[in-house]
């Protein structure tokens, strides 16, 4: 494991962030031990660590073949324009990527209207303030405080373990019982704890909305089918990308970033693949705010991708460590306003 002791780095602007990553700042790194522990935890939770097995087991294989799948639209249907949700102010990209992926899965679960597999109830969207929505609905800081070292940078698998076991999703709001206001992103709040883990009071809040399970993805087909079914992904890797999108919103590889980014869509349409030598596209949501330029309109649609995102060719991201999140426990049940007769007879 890399040494990340006490080397906290705060960024004052998006230019600082981009420059730091392009010059070798390590926001995400590999840790085979953390990966192994993560897989063991998935098994212990009754999950399926391997994406291909999960697709086969739950009948998802080939469900997204040839299709444009945009789970980010489900996020927007509940929380309009909540992405990119601000910009990271320190090396906490892993918590941003994890938050964005979990937010996608959470919103898809809610909008699907599918009853919770444990309670049988259909969950509703939790209310947040306008400020909280603009900062991405869910807190990144609550995740990052569990990184277990005093510096910056983390692994995708360790963050996913935290979401499953210790500290699930925290809404952006004030937590007076913790003397902690998470309504707006704060890079300082992301580093209250580090080498020392958060106290029991944090653990108690974090247990309310744990992510049920997760799975590792290796092939495009697994990622495509899981995204098509509303399971969004967090990825860690060393690939850098151009800040300029092409006419179709695609950014090509440029440089190297030790960075984490979420996947919130996939385009497997034949006409799109034909434009890129047969390569399908994956929608990457970055955590640097409005850092890039170029068209955002999705090919042959009237839909724009979120600010700060870009399409990547699968061949450009195929080596990244990718984790897909399943459902989230514990949001309040959706309530019926009427059984359908009220005012209609």
């Amino acid at each position: 494991m890399a040494d990340h002791s006490e080397d906290e780095v705060m960024f004052s602007s998006v230019f600082d962030v981009v420059e730091a990553y392009e010059n070798g700042f390590v926001g995400a790194y590999a840790d085979p031990e953390a990966d192994a522990a993560f897989r063991a935890d998935i098994l212990a939770a009754g999950g399926v660590p391997d994406g291909a097995d999960a697709c086969a087991q739950f009948g998802l294989a080939e469900s997204g073949a040839g299709k444009l799948s945009l789970p980010f639209l489900e996020i927007y249907s509940l929380y309009p324009r909540c992405l990119p949700g601000g910009a990271q102010g320190r090396g906490d990209c892993v918590s941003w990527s994890t938050r964005n992926a979990a937010l996608g899965t959470m919103c898809c679960e809610i909008t699907s209207g599918i009853p919770d597999e444990v309670t049988g109830r259909v969950e509703g969207a939790p209310d947040v303030t306008e400020t909280a929505r603009a900062y991405g609905v869910l807190s990144t800081e609550a995740i990052y405080n569990w990184r277990r070292h005093g510096g910056d940078g983390w692994t995708c698998s360790a963050a996913a373990r935290v979401l499953m076991k210790e500290s699930g999703l925290w809404l952006r709001k004030n937590y007076p019982e913790l003397n902690l206001d998470l309504t707006q992103y704060s890079s300082r709040n992301a580093g209250i704890y580090g080498a020392k883990t958060p106290p029991e009071s944090w653990l108690k809040v974090g247990q309310d909305h744990l992510v049920r399970t997760a799975t590792e993805v290796r092939s495009f087909e697994e990622l495509r089918d899981l995204l098509h079914n509303g399971y969004c992904a967090s990825s860690c890797g060393s690939e850098g990308f151009s800040a300029q999108r092409d006419a179709q919103g695609v950014s090509r590889r440029k440089g190297s970033w030790a960075h984490a980014m979420a996947y919130l869509g996939v385009d497997d349409r034949e006409e799109v693949k034909a434009l890129y030598g047969g390569q399908p596209l994956v929608l990457v949501q970055n955590s640097w705010g409005n850092w890039n330029d170029g068209p955002r309109r999705i090919y042959k649609t009237n839909i724009d991708i979120p600010v700060g995102s870009f399409w990547a060719l699968w061949s450009d991201i195929k080596n990244r460590h990718t984790i897909v999140f399943s459902g989230v426990n514990g949001w309040p049940p959706k309530q019926l306003k009427s059984y359908g007769a009220l005012g209609n007879i």
Binding site: G113, P115, G120, V122, L336, S338, G340, A341, N344, I345
Partner: protein, 150 residues
């Protein structure tokens, strides 16, 4: 002789009306989907709905019976495949009533009484899955309304 003139006249008229002969649409000998007549058990009505409809026009009562007989049939035939949650049932009932009922509110309080029947049957305002047991409860609620409108 006069009888033959009539028959000849009728044949002439037929040939003028259908110079190509009769071309009847061809249907399968048997229906593709068997549609047995719905069997609605005679259940116990809801006292409040009975009271609200005691002076209702027979056509209005018949319409209510038809609507809820249709809903129970849909629920039974669907078997939880499309009407997967109580929210989807609520949408189904609302859409059906909006199409079927010309003058909502004609019998003041009827909508609230029907809501109460479903609330009692379902047991929660939370949106929940239409499991086989929940499907049974929704069908029973339809039966109560049907019996009340008869």
């Amino acid at each position: 002789m006069k009888k033959f003139v009539w028959i000849a006249g009728a044949l002439l008229l037929f040939s003028l009306m259908f110079p190509q002969g009769l071309s009847l649409p061809k249907f399968p000998a048997v229906p593709v989907v068997p549609t047995p007549a719905p069997v609605v058990p005679a259940g116990t009505g809801d006292a409040e709905i009975v009271d609200l409809l005691k002076s209702a026009a027979p056509a209005d009562k018949a319409r209510i019976v038809d609507v809820y007989t249709g809903l129970r049939t849909v629920l039974l035939r669907d078997g939880g495949k499309r009407v997967t949650t109580t929210e989807k049932f609520a949408d189904l009932q609302a859409n059906t009533l909006q199409l079927a009922i010309d003058t909502p509110g004609k019998y003041s309080g009827l909508d609230v009484a029907i809501e109460r029947v479903f609330a009692t049957a379902v047991g929660t305002k939370d949106v929940v899955a239409v499991t086989p047991d929940m499907q049974k409860s929704l069908v029973q609620a339809c039966d109560v309304i049907i019996a009340s409108a008869r």
